[in-house]
Symmetry: none
Subunit: 208 residues, 2 copies
DNA sequence: CTAGTATGAATGAAGG
DNA sequence: CCTTCATTCATACTAG
């Protein structure tokens, strides 16, 4: 909505203080120092983004409420987070992944040779074009182009933690089973003892 | 020939009839300075939202097609609007209002978190679906929850035009009487003298 | 500080 | 009604 009805003021945003170490984090958060000073909106930590991205990459597109709960709970260890944050994250990530693809697909049109940066967000699709979706792409809903009921590796073992660079192919279509997924074991494998920074930054997504 | 989205049919219910030849809505009242340049989708003005919110607050949850007609007609004064916009608005608003009011007190109480959450904001549930299989008393889908045929004050008198700051939105459960509401009188109680902005922004909902 | 970008949050619009 | 997609708005973040 346009009219913000809560949260703090908007002017103070410019004068935010970045917790340049030596704060509550104790040791410095990795990456982009995500600890926002206020609680205006959720600012995911690098670890949270990492996990979420991995989940997405492994095929999770629309987590059920139950999954959202578990995810957010686990992620709360890395910092403040709410369920809705997880929900929104997946929504946005999926949407933008698709949007990006669609944009590319449009630029595939060779009727015009326009120079455009492929990252711009100011010229999207024509205003009214999504009504008659007889397009060629983005019509995943119609055809169930499912790969196979593969047991989507929910227990992503930790790995070199650097491969999340890019979500190249989003090939997947979450197979939710009527709101109740395979409530697999929920072994809270707390990896203790591993010498690591702050939280056990390993992608153990077995909590799903 | 301008691009007009003439896909105004086949919503789902018998609600909201078709535009039936335009109407008198012409203007582009930029209430929030963010008027969408093109067609795209309806961007309600502040006044429209105000009225709709008030209607909702006064108990209207699922307006009949007839009511939708009247509402959208009245609202067309503040800007371009169609019946389906009203229809969708109520549907979405109702659904999201409900979603928003969900407790986040699952069995998993993460109280063993000594994270100084200075966020005293309420935990709003993500606008997702039926989150939490919490056995809440909200499971009255089968039953028609009609209160008594009370004469829902449809003629909301205008008031200081600033009280819509936030509608608490607690107790309101549409009391429709078998699809036909009380077509109460239509007293045009014009409260003049109140300092008003541009349009006669007064909540005269007596047109219902 | 200003401009531009990335992305969290919100909500209009459908489909089922 | 419920679920999901698409689009838009607001804001955190970053570069100049």
């Amino acid at each position: 909505m346009k009219n913000n009805m809560n949260m703090d003021e908007g002017i103070s945003s410019r004068f935010y203080v970045k917790p340049a170490g030596g704060g509550g984090d104790g040791g410095g958060v990795a990456g982009k120092g995500s600890m926002s000073s206020k609680c205006g909106r959720w600012n995911p930590t690098a670890e949270q983004v990492k996990v979420l991205t991995e989940l997405f990459r492994s095929g999770l597109r629309t987590p059920s409420s139950d999954q959202i709960q578990k995810i957010s709970h686990q992620l709360s260890f890395y910092g403040k987070i709410e369920s809705k944050n997880v929900f929104y994250w997946f929504q946005n990530h999926k949407a933008r992944e698709r949007q990006k693809r669609r944009k590319v697909s449009i630029s595939l049109d060779h009727t015009h040779h326009h120079h455009h940066h492929q990252q711009q967000q100011h010229f999207i699709l024509p205003p009214c074009s999504n009504y008659f979706a007889d397009d060629q792409s983005t019509t995943n809903k119609g055809g169930t182009m499912e790969l196979e009921p593969e047991r989507m590796m929910k227990t992503l073992q930790l790995f070199p933690l650097n491969s999340i660079g890019e979500t190249e192919g989003d090939n997947d279509h979450q197979f939710r089973v009527n709101g109740k997924q395979y409530e697999e074991a929920t072994a809270f494998t707390y990896k203790i003892g591993t010498k690591m920074e702050h939280p056990p930054l390993d992608l153990r997504l077995s909590f799903l």
